[in-house]
């Protein structure tokens, strides 16, 4: 019997041939934590009464969620991370560097075939680089620090085959929102998704990251793609030359094989308060909004800011709307500065915040008021997500967010293209 990508990667990391459903102790190639999860991981590690971090060279910490620190309490947690990282020689990317998942890929931590865990649920983003990457908890991370290994269940896989190409004005974000809507928030719990189809090859790496990023919104353990020449080129630019892509076997066995014709897809929106509450944009067109947010590990990369700038060029954000932009990383910030994209966004009325998670997780920065509607390029719209349980979050593509902040209401971006 053939193997899925997940089964192959796990087999290569635990020294024997394994199948889906098995619980294994696996070598980990790279593990990360951020300021929301690292402090607890450090505490757990210290309670294990182990002196030394086993594999400091395979770890990285990111101060990205709550930056710059808004309070004494947060500063203390950041300080704890810095001290621990220094003591144990763990690489730490401090505030301003960007969102962990964007920075980890930029910095060349991820290669095809890797097995990666992160104390952050959107670790699945690296599936776009043909890695089996999944979110875990803080104590899990402590165990990796202690041993370089972790217990994991080899997941069953779902194959999602995408037929056709996307129409003009419809983006990777619309596609993944559509898929989350179809599969639902629990459509792939414990399972790895393998994305297939012509569109994947068509997509840039940035678009692929958007897709893999939201695999977890269907409950999936991972959202993996094959590595092609685009991956090879992308990694080469980041100093990784030799790669060993992992392909699924022809006769691998899947829990489900799903096909979607995407050639007629229209812009999609996830309505409050769940990510799978997805409808075609036209069903909520005209809904007034008070805030727009462009950023995050889903859609805060160069191409995302670029498409927003294309729409906002020579136009203004509606007077009743606050428009917040968080470049996902310093590299994204610099590149968009160079290309004049930031200039256009600021000219249109955007407020720039520090590269990082921005207002995605509601800890500071841009907390909406009671009863307000927000349109955001993030991956989650749970009640209270942006810091106010009485606000309403709509998720959309960068183009839709840009069009909507111009009009002050949810607007189809195709009108501006």
């Amino acid at each position: 019997m053939g193997k899925t990508i997940a089964e192959k990667i796990f087999s290569a990391h635990c020294g024997r041939e394994v199948k889906s459903g098995e619980i294994v102790i696996s070598e980990i190639d790279f593990a990360l934590a951020q300021d929301g999860t690292a402090p607890l991981a450090i505490q757990s590690f210290e309670s294990m009464e182990i002196e030394k971090v086993a594999v400091p060279e395979k770890l990285a910490f990111f101060v990205d969620h709550n930056v710059p620190s808004p309070s004494q309490e947060v500063s203390l947690l950041h300080q704890l991370m810095r001290h621990f990282a220094k003591k144990h020689k763990i690489k730490l990317y401090d505030m301003g560097k960007g969102v962990c998942h964007v920075v980890a890929t930029e910095e060349g931590w991820i290669s095809p075939g890797n097995l990666i865990v992160g104390a952050d649920s959107h670790t699945c983003t690296y599936g776009a680089l043909n890695a089996l990457a999944t979110g875990v908890g803080s104590t899990d991370l402590a165990a990796v620090m202690a041993s370089g290994k972790l217990w994991l269940r080899v997941p069953e896989s779902i194959k999602i085959i995408l037929k056709g190409l996307l129409p003009e004005g419809v983006y990777a974000k619309d596609l993944i929102l559509y898929l989350v809507g179809r599969l639902t928030a629990r459509g792939a719990v414990y399972q790895a998704i393998e994305f297939e189809g012509e569109i994947i090859q068509e997509f840039s790496l940035e678009e692929r990251f958007t897709l893999s990023n939201m695999a977890v919104e269907m409950g999936a353990k991972a959202g993996i793609m094959r590595a092609d020449n685009k991956v090879r080129e992308w990694l080469k630019k980041r100093g990784i030359r030799s790669i060993q892509p992992v392909e699924p076997d022809e006769d691998a066995s899947y829990a489900q094989i799903l096909e979607f014709d995407i050639s007629f897809l229209a812009p999609q929106i996830a309505r409050p308060h769940t990510v799978d509450n997805v409808v075609p944009l036209k069903e909520v067109e005209g809904t007034p909004i008070q805030q727009g947010f462009l950023g995050t590990c889903t859609n805060g990369r160069v191409s995302d800011l670029k498409i927003a700038a294309r729409i906002l060029k020579g136009r203004k954000v509606s007077p009743g709307v606050r428009f917040i932009v968080a470049p996902a990383s310093r590299q994204v910030y610099q590149e968009t500065l160079r290309q004049g994209i930031i200039e256009i966004l600021v000219e249109a009325g955007a407020a720039l915040v520090t590269p990082g998670c921005g207002c995605c997780v509601g800890t500071h920065n841009g907390v909406p008021a009671k009863g307000e509607n927000v349109i955001s390029t993030a991956n989650r719209n749970f009640q209270g997500r942006m810091g106010n349980p009485e606000a309403f979050i709509y998720l959309a593509s960068p183009a839709t967010v840009a069009a909507s902040v111009i009009e002050g209401k949810i607007t189809d971006p195709r009108r501006f293209l």
């Binding site: 102790i25 309490e73 104390a119 104590t139 928030a185 409950g219 989650r380 209270g384």
Partner: protein, 173 residues
């Protein structure tokens, strides 16, 4: 915790499907503090104000499908544990929450929770994998844990497991 003769008893607090970790403990608190007792006081407050005050130690959270979906925050099962919830019962759990609960030694039970109503008195025998709904006079089936996971639970969580100097070897490869 020792599972041999581990008996739990308490009242059911019934919740719906897809209860995410943002609801269990808001992101606002995960940055404020590592103090588990403070986290516990904010358990589920965005969707159920004053939930913490309504708990008697040993009570159960009883939910539908996909409990604990969303972020990886371990503060979610920690807040539940320190609110002194005896166990979480659900028809299914999101995977990171499932891991975190096991790693922390918080008992989680997969069972058909449609047969439990809010306020029902439950008795749970973890060693036998039995849930008894005393109010409804029903006995519910549960899914047993695989042996590898049972070892972590029996140790009282991953920290204790490592503390005993066992590392991974005893869990097999």
């Amino acid at each position: 915790m020792h599972l041999k003769d581990y008996l739990l008893q308490g009242k059911a607090h019934k919740l719906g499907d897809d209860i995410n970790t943002d609801y269990i403990i808001s992101g606002r608190y995960k940055f404020k503090t590592l103090d588990r007792n403070i986290l516990a006081q904010h358990l589920l407050e965005d969707i159920l104000p004053n939930f913490y005050q309504q708990i008697t130690p040993g009570d159960f959270i009883v939910a539908g499908e996909n409990f604990g979906c969303g972020s990886s925050r371990e503060q979610a099962p920690l807040a539940i544990k320190y609110a002194r919830i005896g166990a979480v019962l659900a028809r299914s759990f999101a995977r990171i929450f499932y891991r975190n609960a096991i790693n922390l030694g918080l008992p989680i039970i997969v069972t058909d929770t449609r047969k439990i109503k809010n306020g029902d008195e439950l008795k749970i025998d973890l060693s036998q994998g039995k849930v008894i709904n005393a109010t409804a006079g029903l006995s519910l089936k549960t899914e047993p844990f695989p042996p590898e996971i049972m070892q972590i639970i029996e140790a009282g969580g991953l920290i204790e497991y490592f503390k005993k100097g066992r590392g991974w070897t005893e869990l097999g490869r």
